[in-house]
């Protein structure tokens, strides 16, 4: 997160005052001590923000501008239409222009947003959004300024009849303050748009093709954002235009209060200091999510803090103790047996093993837990006895306060139907499938994982699958090998779905894999936000989503193979019948045509033939069914911008659902069901509160309240409150359907 911010703070806080007898006096040093401007910090550490090299700088600039535009449009409830234009001004020098139809920015704010680092609206709240740190776009502007000396040009208009302003802004790298350069800043400019923002940055860069190109980024953005209309004019080659495939915006993610698990010490200090006349207890209950009276009392008790004391009066050690207790409750040890096996093989210390990525331990906590279990944290892991390991678990349980995970209303998945829509915009494939998992939690952070696949058609047959990774709808282009998403993809046994795969590698075949991780706080491996960290819970969820898609794919591939096989057989017999008829005619004198007819008639009794028309008259059957299924529903939606009448919708879904079920039932008897296997579009759930809740209730999920402990290691599933529509419910309904299948 805010390396820059915290770095700043800590540097300031830890600068020691000079001791007597040193080469410099405190006073002398004081003259040199000053704020380290984040802007200065950036110029020295630009790689941290994705400006390591010219190619990446160009991509990051486009990415930050587009992400900002998308976030702004969505927040304002506007279906985004974005135009990206990149011109090569001179060799190695590019002008990036990103224009949106968003709400616009009030004139006074423009300089700060585009020319002041760490300024923004998103950092201060906990909600799923693309950008977070308020650093991206101004960093891009700053990079442009550093490499070309040109200011950022912004044009913005906030509504019909309102003036459009054009500002040239620059960042003062020393003070991190914006400067407006153009003299005509107060003159309105003509702009036919009702509202929107256009930003223009000139920078040194490198435009090239490939996995990490601007083109790849935009193409993938289009996949994950079906509601986005994008026009793109690259520096070379033809322009592209992707019209939107979803007319409705994704539901707005709800803002939540911080959860005790995820709180940073700095934030806790700030919250407590600004608590005014409230007690610690009161502040905890009111400012954090999932902190009840009982939880607050327990937290204080364990931290040795008087719950009744005024929050701003807490001193450093007290706050630290409280923080320790709060975050400790997220620490997780692996299941006992697995952990014991791991320790037995380990060459490291117990502490190191406990601090493993994803465990949620801080060193202090690990040491504390170990000592309470009477084990020295620096002991060799393999020397820890099973009895000691058990004590360790007991000790951990003792030091934790049980706190519910935060509500999942803050996480908005793309949704199965729209993933398929998005994939279709990008890939000309035969088969599409998608699956959205119910929300789950890692270290107290709710997240939703979705997977989608496109298969066959024009996808390359002999190459490794194309893996598209997304975090909060933002494509991740770099570091695929370091990414937890990739790990999950590799862990799936794709062979069982009819693809080729070598151990530890991506499957080979005409396949594109889409994985989206939506979360309030996506755990990246580094500040550059290039790869998702390897959390067990997340990897497990991704794998489950992929396997669900894989199963659908497997059915399709099998059905297709069976069908191809049948067709092959049919044509084989037909061509031999012709030969046979000639010979038998020559031998017996019976008319050739008659012989052929007799054999053809017999063929129907002995050869199992596909029910559909043979290939060649419009491709392999089965595949069109997949496409038809979704296109039909798109047509139903698109003519009027309104969702179809609820009744119709539900009825249609029911039909489809039963067809799919029928297909499942018949699946052993392949050919008959070949054409109906394909309904990849998952049945849509009826909206909650429409009187259709019974089905869900029967499966044990209350509407929007309960959560359910499904695994011992704290992965929890729960439905979301009624307000947040979408995938969670779909999954629930489908699960319910499966459930009823079984019973």
């Amino acid at each position: 997160m805010t390396t820059d911010g915290t770095a700043d703070e800590t540097k300031e806080a830890t600068t020691p005052s000079a001791a007597p007898g040193r080469r410099a006096t405190a006073e002398a040093m004081a003259t040199k001590q000053r704020d380290i401007s984040v802007s200065e910090f950036f110029t020295k550490n630009r790689h941290l923000l994705g400006f390591d090299n010219p190619a990446k700088a160009l991509l990051t600039t486009v990415k930050e501008a587009v992400d900002n535009a998308l976030d702004a449009c969505e927040e304002a409830g506007i279906a985004p239409s974005i135009e990206v234009q990149i011109d090569e001004v001179s060799e190695g020098r590019y002008r990036v222009r990103v224009e949106d139809n968003g709400p616009g920015i009030v004139k006074e704010q423009i300089p700060k947003i585009f020319a002041k680092l760490l300024y923004g609206s998103k950092f201060h709240r906990l909600r799923q959004s693309r950008g977070q740190q308020g650093i991206g776009i101004s960093a891009a502007g700053m990079y442009g300024q550093l490499t070309t000396g040109r200011p950022v040009v912004v044009v913005s208009k906030i509504g019909e009849g309102r003036p459009a302003w054009r500002l040239e802004v620059r960042i003062d790298a020393r003070t991190n303050n914006p400067e407006v350069l153009n003299k005509d800043r107060d003159k309105t400019v003509p702009w036919e748009k009702d509202h929107g923002t256009a930003v223009e940055i000139e920078l040194t860069g490198l435009y090239r093709a490939g996995r990490t190109s601007v083109d790849a980024y935009l193409e993938q953005t289009v996949v994950a954002n079906p509601h986005l209309e994008l026009k793109y004019k690259p520096p070379r080659g033809a322009s592209s235009h992707w019209p939107r495939v979803a007319d409705t915006l994704p539901p707005e993610a709800q803002e939540i209060k911080p959860h005790p698990h995820g709180v940073e010490l700095g934030m806790l200090i700030k919250i407590l200091h600004e608590a005014g006349a409230r007690t610690v207890h009161q502040t905890l209950v009111e400012e954090f999510s999932r902190v009840t009276d009982a939880v607050a009392t327990e937290l204080c008790q364990r931290a040795g803090v008087d719950p009744a004391m005024l929050a701003p009066k807490m001193d450093g050690p007290q706050i630290e103790a409280l923080h320790g207790v709060m975050v400790s409750s997220q620490a997780v040890l692996p299941p006992l047996r697995r952990f014991a096996t791991r320790l037995a093989k380990s060459e490291r210390t117990l502490r190191d093993e406990m601090l493993d990525e994803g465990s949620g331990f801080s060193q202090g906590l690990a040491d504390g837990v170990a000592r309470r279990a009477e084990i020295e944290p620096t002991a060799k892991a393999k020397l820890v006895t099973p009895a000691q390991i058990e004590k360790l678990y007991a000790s951990l349980a003792q030091s934790q306060v049980k706190i519910l995970p935060p509500p999942a209303t803050c996480v908005v998945p793309v949704g199965e139907e729209l993933i398929i829509g998005g994939l279709k915009r990008r890939f000309k494939a035969e088969f599409f499938a998608a699956h959205t998992r119910p929300p789950a939690v890692y270290r107290g952070n709710p997240f939703v994982v979705e997977a989608g696949i496109a298969f066959g058609g024009e996808l390359a047959k002999d190459e490794a699958a194309d893996l598209l990774r997304f975090a909060n709808r933002v494509p991740l282009l770099y570091q695929p090998r370091a990414c937890g998403i990739t790990e999950a993809v590799l862990k799936v046994d794709w062979k069982s779905y009819g693809l080729q795969q070598r151990k530890g590698e991506l499957p080979v075949g005409p396949l594109a894999i889409f994985v989206h991780l939506a979360s309030v706080w996506v755990p990246f491996t580094s500040e550059a936000k290039e790869a998702v960290a390897h959390y067990d819970e997340i990897v497990k969820e991704i794998r489950a989503a992929l396997m669900e898609c894989g199963r659908k794919l497997g059915t399709f591939v099998k059905a297709k193979d069976a069908e191809r096989w049948e067709l092959e057989r049919k044509t084989l017999f037909e061509k031999y019948i012709r030969e046979l008829a000639t010979s038998i005619h020559a031998i017996t004198g019976v008319a050739e045509q008659k012989v052929a007819e007799d054999f053809q008639a017999a063929m129907t009794k002995h050869v199992h033939l596909p029910t559909r028309a043979p290939a060649g008259e419009g491709g392999v059957s089965g595949a069109p069914a997949a496409i038809e299924a979704s296109e039909a529903s798109e047509e139903a939606r698109s003519p009027s911008d309104l969702p179809p009448a609820q009744g119709e919708d539900t009825a249609a879904e029911t039909d489809e659902g039963s067809a799919a079920e029928a297909a499942r039932d018949d699946s052993d008897d392949a050919p008959a069901s070949v054409t109906s296997v394909a309904p990849i579009k998952a049945p849509k759930a009826p909206r909650m509160g429409d009187g259709d809740d019974e089905e869900q209730m029967s499966f044990g999920f209350g509407s929007g309240s309960a959560f359910e402990d499904v695994t011992p290691n704290k992965t929890r599933r729960y439905t979301r409150p009624a307000a947040s529509a979408g995938a969670a419910k779909k999954a629930t309904v489908r699960d319910a359907a499966k459930h009823s299948d079984r019973t």
Binding site: Y576, R578, E579, L580, I587, D598, A602, M603, V607
Partner: protein, 364 residues
């Protein structure tokens, strides 16, 4: 067209009608083909020949893997019918080319190589119980014969005493209607595996000195050669001696002449010479004639395997044959006939063969 031809024609026509009727009745048209494999042969101890068993395999048309072979069988049958009607014979290579064409508008051929059509012909023979010559098919001439005999070959008188160095090429079809034996002064028939050895013997006029018919098969004896041996043995009462290389393959060539082959077990009765005698080269000859070890060849793994198989065949179960084969295995050596030349260029003509026959040093 003679009676025999008419019978064959009827067999072919019946086969086609059967197929047609099956199809018309909605059945899966199938050919019942006697199995031509070791599993379906048994050794007739009485007649001392290999006979084909009763098991048949069904070749159905509506079967993904059998359809093509089924269709091919009729392609061949159609052509045989035409040959019989035209009173012509043709080689199995010709019929392969005749039946080979591209199927419809595909890229697939009816036959891709002769190796594909040859077994189909054999299938047809066994299925309708007709001999290859009855189908008006012949193989290439293979093997040659000389000796004190006059034959009539499709009307031409041929004096086999005056055949120069090449000899009379043995036709593929040697049935009585084509080849008739006239006068002869032969006392036995000597079959040698290889043309080269045959040439040595012919050059030395072995057949003249020893009053025998000298014939070779150019390796494994073809059906024409085998049928001719059988006829000379049966009709002229001549004993048949066989000389092959000393290796498992040579032994097998002898056994085919003697008891018939697994593949063509149905022909055994008219081709086998159950009393044919194996003159050599025997594994014991090395000691017997003091062959130097440097003229031997080491047994290969493949030879060993083949020897193992021979040991298991019923018609090699005779103790002396078991000894013979085991001796070869034990010494791990094999000898070509030509190895005898190390003892002198005319050794085979002047000493080896006369000595072996005189001393009755043969196996049977």
């Amino acid at each position: 067209m003679d009676e025999r031809d008419e019978k064959t024609l009827k067999k072919i026509t019946d086969l086609a009608y059967q197929a047609l009727v099956s199809a018309r009745m909605g059945k899966n048209p199938s050919l019942e083909i006697p199995v031509r494999a070791l599993s379906n042969v048994n050794f007739d101890e009485e007649a001392r020949v290999i006979r084909m068993g009763e098991s048949k395999q069904s070749r159905a048309f509506f079967h993904f893997k059998q359809a093509k072979a089924y269709m091919q069988t009729f392609l061949i049958a159609e052509r045989c019918k035409k040959l019989i009607e035209a009173g012509a014979t043709t080689s199995i290579r010709d019929i392969y080319y005749d039946a080979k064409h591209t199927i419809g508008n595909t890229k697939e051929n009816t036959f891709d190589e002769q190796a594909e059509s040859d077994p189909i012909i054999e299938d047809l023979e066994v299925t309708i119980d007709a001999l290859r010559e009855e189908l008006h098919l012949r193989a290439e001439n293979k093997g040659a014969m000389v000796g004190p005999m006059t034959v009539r070959d499709t009307g031409d008188e041929i004096d086999l005493r005056r055949m120069g160095s090449g000899g009379w090429s043995v036709p593929s079809i040697v049935e009585e209607n084509r080849i008739q034996f006239r006068s002869h002064e032969a006392e036995y028939v000597l079959f040698v595996e290889k043309g080269a050895v045959w040439q040595r013997l012919n050059e030395d006029r072995y057949w003249k000195t020893n009053r025998c018919m000298l014939i070779h098969g150019g390796g494994m004896a073809a059906r024409g050669t085998r049928r001719l041996l059988r006829r000379m043995h049966e009709e002229l009462n001549l004993p048949v001696y066989v000389v092959t290389d000393n290796d498992p393959w040579g032994f097998y060539i002898y056994s085919v002449i003697k008891q018939g082959s697994i593949n063509l077990a149905y022909e055994s009765m008219r081709m086998a010479v159950p009393r044919a005698r194996f003159l050599g080269i025997s594994s014991f000859d090395a000691d017997r004639f003091n062959l130097k070890s440097n003229v031997s060849i080491a047994l290969t793994d493949e030879d060993e395997k083949r020897a193992e198989q021979l040991l298991k065949y019923d018609w090699f179960k005779d103790r002396r044959w078991q000894d013979e084969i085991n001796r070869m295995k034990k010494t791990e050596k094999k000898y070509e006939i030509e190895a005898l030349s190390s003892l002198g260029i005319r050794f085979i003509t002047e000493e080896y063969l006369p000595h072996k026959i005189k001393s009755r040093l043969w196996l049977d």
